[in-house]
Symmetry: none
Subunit: 226 residues, 2 copies
DNA sequence: TCAATGCTTCGACTACCATCGAAGTATGAA
DNA sequence: TTCATACTTCGATGGTAGTCGAAGCATTGA
């Protein structure tokens, strides 16, 4: 056995179906009680309690007591991202139980993935950019075209500062509800920041869902026609 | 409860320590044989074979046959990325394997690895041989010096027949309980055989543990002082 | 043809863990 | 105080998966 991070520990935590169901339920972002999570997972409260303490000990969940309830939620954003990544991978392998993606329609429509836009809107945005030849596909990689550069500068995004960073400007990120790629990288982040700054959309609190305003919907459709 | 990609399936694949070790070993990018992977994971070939077919069925690995060897490697780049992501997460949580290796103290002290001596005693033996300049370290490889050759012949090991074989005489093998190298190769095998033949040590049955007799302990310490 | 090597399959064993009933603890309400 | 709710802990059970020995199959080399 070599040195290195213990992926087996995390794997075994996620590997139990009951625990995986609870984690999936918690990915909507809301905090849930053991009773709720037990029904999500189809197990009794005692069993759920045992699972939850293991997940907490493993650093995946935190709990807070409130009256006689205990609320569990994902420990940090990082946990949600790690799970999202796993789900994307699983979905790409056709490892679906029933219907991929979050149950919550709001999450399915638009949500934060890492720091960029995911969900139906995220996929549509990338499709539209490619169709307009502002982003080019080269194998698994994406590249911003000259037209694309002009376009994002017109939107008020500082291309020079994106270029300066070591991070890739455009990257694909597999969307686990849509099973298709959306736009990640520093440009993905800059675009989401733009939407939020312009007031076109805002994050739901305690959730990774993003809600577009009416004017935001319109602006988005104009910018990224289908 | 039933929607969403099946992260439990992947989790359980990664969740077994033996499989996690194999995957970690394969993250270097090279294709490895079942035999190699078995030693990496510290399990027998049979067990490794069973794990490998599960990993292949799960889409994490592919194999190709080449002569009488089978080479396993990560199925696609995506798999490596997913694992890297997991490792990054695990590392960020400080989830490093705190106590690697077998629980059983006897196994930790001395055991068979492949066909040579591993565990604390295995590491000590190699250290001692290097300190006595009977084995030379050259990068990842080991070489028997002239002094070493004389020494092992004095012990009654037939150097000529070792030389004849195609197998390397000295090889390093990473010790999964000690996290350091011990001596493998035909010399490693010959030395273990010597210990067993002289009655200094014997294999516990139904285990890979090796138990040294009192006289064997003494002889070992004389031969390989710390 | 025979022997050696590399690997898989089969069968049996064992250890672990998820599971749930029952009992115990904590909080809040009547 | 007494009861109800929410949850945890304990103990027992059962199923499953990891493990290895033995045997079988395939390839290579002599």
């Amino acid at each position: 056995m070599k040195e290195g991070p213990d992926i087996a520990l995390i794997g075994s935590l996620i590997g139990d179906p009951a625990r995986a169901n609870m984690l999936t339920a918690l990915m909507a972002g809301r905090a849930l009680t053991p009773t709720e999570l037990a029904t999500h997972a189809g197990i009794t409260l005692q069993t759920a309690s045992s699972h939850l303490s293991k997940l907490e000990a493993g650093g995946l969940l935190t709990q807070r007591k409130q009256g006689r309830h205990r609320y569990y939620q994902l420990a940090e954003d990082e946990v949600g991202l790690m799970l999202e990544n796993l789900m994307g991978f699983a979905a790409s392998r056709g490892m679906n139980r029933h219907r991929p993606g979050p149950k919550d329609p709001a999450l399915r429509k638009a949500r934060v993935c890492y720091n960029h836009l995911a969900g139906d809107y995220g996929v549509r945005m990338l499709d539209s950019l490619i169709a307009a030849k502002q982003i080019e596909v080269a194998g698994d990689d994406l590249a911003l075209t000259d037209a694309g550069q002009i376009r994002i500068e017109a939107l008020g995004i500082d291309y020079a500062s994106l270029k300066k960073s070591r991070r890739p400007i455009c990257r694909t990120c597999l969307d686990w509800s849509e099973r298709r790629s959306h736009l990640a990288g520093s440009l993905g982040e800059a675009l989401l920041t733009l939407f939020l700054d312009k007031g076109w959309a805002k994050r739901e609190n305690n959730s990774r869902a993003i809600r577009f305003t009416d004017s935001g919907e319109k602006a988005f459709s104009d910018l990224f026609p289908q």
